[in-house]
């Protein structure tokens, strides 16, 4: 219980940091507070593209490298299927899904491998890859912790997508707290708003979600809050990337140049 609390604090700090080291901080939290020997995060796209973002140790980095050079393994499977891949023991002969990778991975000393897709609906961003040097399944608590770490990893990667790795931290702090209890990913309006931005500015889902996170961050507001504005059609995004706040769709009264200025709410327009 203590470790779960500390894990949550570490994850919240990693997301609030909003800097280039956020992803690594998530991996380090997995090693510190979950029964993992190492962890790594890789950004992937639908095709062959993958970019190692960070790894806590050479073992984790080697495991990533192996799967991507072989084009097979739990990471590739987790990303492709969108499902967590939980392998209690990669050296178990009954685990026959990736024979070539398994043989090579065993040389790194890895036994348990736990890989989590970093997906939010159609936004497929990458994978969180954890391993440990002892065999065994994760407890319910540890699985829950690892899933929360994956949620945190999503937000740190979105910051990279949006290119805002300033390391300046969250201007108001509370937005990050709100994101990490999993509630933001459970909010329907966040995903509806993502869809609306996709349609408004011809974006892919990852970029749309990153921009939503970005504008919320710049305004010091929660994503759910900003998403509510988008769904209520009080905030919209032009194809050229400019945000508009408006009372109604037909009454755009001022343009805000996010992220330089916080957006202002327009309360005066009748519903």
């Amino acid at each position: 219980v203590v470790d779960q609390t500390r894990l949550s604090l570490a994850l919240a700090a990693a997301v609030a940091d909003n800097g280039p080291d956020g992803a690594l901080a998530v991996c380090q939290a997995c090693v510190a507070w979950l029964p993992m020997t190492g962890a790594s995060i890789t950004m992937m796209d639908g095709g062959q593209g993958q970019e190692p973002v960070c790894a806590t140790d050479s073992g984790a980095a080697r495991i990533d490298e192996l799967q991507f050079s072989l084009g097979d393994g739990p990471c590739v499977e987790a990303f492709t299927t969108g499902r967590a891949v939980l392998v209690p023991d990669i050296t178990d002969p009954a685990e026959g899904r990736w024979p070539v990778f398994a043989a090579a991975a065993a040389d790194t000393g890895a036994r348990g491998m736990f890989v989590f897709p970093l997906h939010v609906g159609a936004a497929k961003i990458g994978v969180l890859d954890c391993y440990r040097d002892a065999p065994g399944s994760l407890s319910d608590h540890d699985l829950s912790g690892a899933l929360r770490a994956a949620d945190a990893a999503i937000w740190t990667l979105l910051d990279r997508v949006d290119g805002r790795t300033t390391g300046e931290g969250d201007p108001n702090g509370s937005a990050a707290d709100e994101q990490l209890d999993g509630s933001t990913l459970a909010r329907a309006e966040v995903h509806q708003a993502t869809g609306m931005l996709i349609a408004q500015a011809a974006l892919d889902a990852t970029t749309a979600l990153a921009l939503l996170r970005g504008v919320a961050f710049s305004a010091g507001r929660s994503i759910a809050d900003v998403a509510g504005e988008v769904v209520a059609r009080r905030l919209r995004l032009d194809p050229d990337g400019a945000w508009h706040t408006a009372g109604t769709e037909h009454d755009t009264d001022h343009v805000t140049d996010v992220p330089n200025e916080p957006m202002s709410r327009d309360e005066e327009t009748p519903p």
């Binding site: 939980l86 949620d151 966040v190 995903h191």
Partner: protein, 244 residues
């Protein structure tokens, strides 16, 4: 010649045959859940039904509702914090509230919101699997009503079907399977919300209406709801016909 009781029985049998038929085919779990919620309304006389799954992070999330009215979905989601659904999930037992006004103190926020929406009675039925509870089925009635044992049994059977739907894919890697299926159901839900957003924007319609169009199109073209949603989001599907 048929009596109301015989008719009801036929409807019930037809519903379960349809569900069994769905479970052997390659099915879309959200579509199936939506059908189950609709069955709760038609078979049990509920005024609204919703299905919540544990997200394995310690919280409950709405995955389906008998209608996608944003306020109704919000009322279900509110129970991630308090309400009969949360209690049902936590204790793995049926929670029956025939009259919400009698339990104001137990869930103040939930009761006041439910009353605002005109609901008077709530039942929550656990989705149980070998000692583990993975979610809950929630039934709302507009009038005070205690579901009789026969209705509760049908409701619980529908909740059990939902549980089977999550776990039908047999696998030796049971733990991985359960996590995969639960997360996949939540993930499909996110896809559908994103697609609702795209359609709301393009068609200038409400998200609830967007869901209705999406589902009608999926049925009409025999496509899986989540695949259709994916096509809407990534632009591979022309949404003109869907919105016309």
């Amino acid at each position: 010649v048929s009596t109301p009781a015989a008719e009801r029985e036929q409807t019930l049998v037809a519903a379960f045959v349809r569900l069994a038929d769905t479970l052997v085919a390659d099915y879309d779990v959200i579509e199936l859940f939506h059908g189950l919620c609709a069955d709760c309304v038609s078979l049990l006389g509920a005024d609204a039904a919703g299905l919540m799954l544990g997200d394995q992070r310690g919280s409950l999330q709405v995955v389906s509702a008998s209608n996608e009215d944003a306020e109704l979905v919000e009322l279900f989601q509110l129970q991630a914090d308090q309400g009969p659904c949360l209690d049902c999930y936590a204790t793995s037992t049926q929670v029956e509230v025939g009259d919400l006004t009698a339990v104001q103190g137990r869930w103040p926020r939930f009761v006041s919101r439910a009353s605002e929406h005109g609901f008077a009675a709530v039942h929550a039925l656990p989705m149980r699997l070998r000692g583990q509870t993975i979610g809950a089925l929630n039934l709302f009635h507009r009038r005070a009503h205690v579901m009789p044992p026969g209705e509760l049994a049908v409701g619980q059977a529908l909740a059990d079907v939902a549980t089977i739907a999550i776990l039908s894919d047999r696998s030796t890697r049971e733990r991985e399977q359960l996590t995969g299926q639960l997360q996949a159901a939540l993930h499909s839900r996110v896809l559908i919300e994103q697609a609702k957003g795209v359609l709301s924007e393009r068609g200038h319609i409400e998200p609830g209406e967007a869901f209705t169009r999406l589902r009608a199109h999926a049925r009409g073209t025999h496509q899986r709801l989540s695949e259709l949603a994916r096509g809407v989001i990534d632009g591979t599907l022309d949404t003109t016909t869907l919105l016309s």
